[in-house]
Amino acid sequence: MVRRRKFCKFCAEKIDYIDYKDTRLLGQFVPERARILPRRISGVCATHQRKLALAIKRARHLALLPYVAD
């Protein structure tokens, strides 16, 4: 089995500003338990992971995304 090379979604799609209001985009990085998906799994680059984490935390504060889900 060949493991596909991971790439940063935000670099590929040229998203420079990760909007905390964009729940659909952020939702892709918070699987069922609602924890932030680690970089080693998603392949997101360090720069974008930092921005992504901040955006997710802002969205959580506004109750757009859950803190925990079960």
Partner: protein, 144 residues
């Protein structure tokens, strides 16, 4: 001029008129403090990701404003805290982030101009190799 994005969530128990009144009140406060309202985006009633107090829905309002200092935003936050119908709020300064995003975009465009996009499947230097091979062919023919 700083650019701020102020989001607040109003309780779902308010009527539509009351929601309008609240928005009107807050934007007026901001304007009185010297802010210029760029846009007011009402998302309408939305389900919350979790319960806040006793509520499971809320009216989301996104206000974008320009102001020279943070005084209007500070005043808005103070008002949000004392207003019971505001169940959540967040204000974010966005001018610096947007400027940075712009810079990244510019740097990327510049890089693309300098180096043409590589053709998929073509290895770098392949063309030169083929040219070299073509030049070498006549030598082989002489030997035949």
């Amino acid at each position: 001029m700083r650019r701020y994005e102020v989001v607040f969530v109003l309780a779902p128990t308010l009527t539509e008129d009351e929601v309008e009144q609240q928005i009107e009140g807050f934007t007026k406060t901001a304007r009185d403090k010297g802010a210029e309202i760029v846009s007011v985006d009402k998302w309408g009633k939305r389900r919350l990701a979790f319960r806040v107090g006793k509520h499971s829905d809320g009216f989301y309002v996104v206000v974008t404003l320009h102001e020279p200092s943070g005084t209007a935003v500070a005043e808005l936050e103070r008002r949000f805290k004392v207003t019971d119908s505001v169940i959540r709020f967040l204000s974010v300064r966005t001018d610096l982030d947007l400027k940075r995003a712009e810079k990244f975009k510019k740097a990327r465009d510049l890089r693309r101009q300098k180096r043409p996009a590589p053709v998929r499947g073509e290895r770098a230097g392949r063309q030169e190799m083929e040219e070299a091979l073509a030049a070498a062919e006549p030598v082989e023919k002489e030997e035949e």
